[in-house]
Subunit: 193 residues, 2 copies
DNA sequence: CTGTCTTTTCAGAAATAACTGAAATCACGG
DNA sequence: CCGTGATTTCAGTTATTTCTGAAAAGACAG
């Protein structure tokens, strides 16, 4: 199967970036191929397009399904499994963030909490322990924020993101409308955009 | 150098997570060690604490400096280089996000833009091209938002994050104060302010 | 059940990344 | 300069990950 220049380039790029994104080349390429494809593809289509082994495609698809980034589709009258990416890019982003959080952040949060509960902390570890607490609190703030954002409808989320820094006006304006735990300190200026 | 149980566990965890975070075990461990340390450490301190080779430590430190996550410090009267992590965790987070963006996102944004400019796109690629545009627009929205956030003082940023989803009240109340509403769809042009 | 088509598993090969020790380079006091 | 100690480089080794082909397992029509 001959890929157009456009598709070829896109797919190769995803393959190369794969290692930086924590997935392997084939997985990146499979995702890219499916993303650009107008119809669901079966494993053999992917083999033909990418020139990798059938078993490699099988494993790659399994991994992508594990990430919930690729869906299994059945085509009537065809026994083979077919695959597509999520059609909604925002949904894809949500999934990606949720999965990365699950793999890259949550285990550390758990570990930090465990370490804080450790009974046998020596006095020499007081500072270390405080730093662990500090890190846990930072991560909790971020994951809590993410939980909030994940709950929003896409439309609202987009609006918030587009607002960007302008939102800060609502938390530090003359009326300080919500009076929520803001900590003003020395050197704090009204850094309006 | 004997590490306390607390430090040992923390360091080993960072080593194990390293691969998920796109850094190798030693780099993760060096960062963890420095993060918990109350004073700057020299390379030999790190060798003693982690039990890896001197050259490995040298390469790890170089990488961490490349990420701007570790600083070189000079101790008066000591010829050896000493190292610390950034003392401000928020600064660390900013650096981390900025560096990951530079490595994991910006190259793709550039590539997507290039592909959109490609002159020889065949009609059969119309849909593929539209999907590329869609992805570019999503990434631009996110990086634009990040640019905004990165500009804020930490205090304001924290306040915004703590607000979380409650902020949406400002953009979708009865009056729809800012009239930013519609969801993005295929074929949509960017339209960021 | 049997035969055919499809997918998965898995042991070993190939490719990549991480790590080491030795040698080279660098920095600086004398 | 020279000598000493610190750091970096790098070729070779080890460890890890990715990929493949062959075999096993699964699914379904007849």
């Amino acid at each position: 199967m001959a890929l157009s220049h456009l598709r070829q380039e896109f797919i190769l790029h995803f393959g190369e970036m794969g290692s930086r994104w924590g997935i392997n080349r084939t997985v990146g390429q499979i995702y890219a191929l499916l993303y650009l494809s107008e119809r669901p593809l079966c494993a053999d289509d992917i083999v033909a397009a990418l020139g990798v082994s059938r078993s490699n495609v099988s494993m790659g698809l399994k991994e992508l399904q594990g990430w919930n980034l690729v869906l299994l589709r059945h085509i009537p009258g065809d026994r083979r499994d077919h695959f597509t990416t999520l059609d909604d890019l925002w949904q894809m982003l949500r999934t990606l963030v949720a999965e990365r959080r699950k793999r890259e952040i949550d285990p550390t949060l758990t570990k930090l909490r465990d370490l804080e509960l450790l009974a046998d902390t020596a006095p020499e570890d007081a500072v270390a322990r405080a730093r662990i607490t500090e890190m846990r609190e930072l991560i909790e703030l971020l994951t809590g924020w993410h939980d909030d954002m994940a709950r929003l409808e896409t439309e609202r989320l987009v609006a918030l993101l587009k607002m960007g820094a302008r939102l800060q006006k609502f938390i530090s304006g003359p009326a300080d409308v919500l009076s929520l735990g803001r900590v003003r300190q020395k050197g704090d200026t009204d850094g309006r955009a």
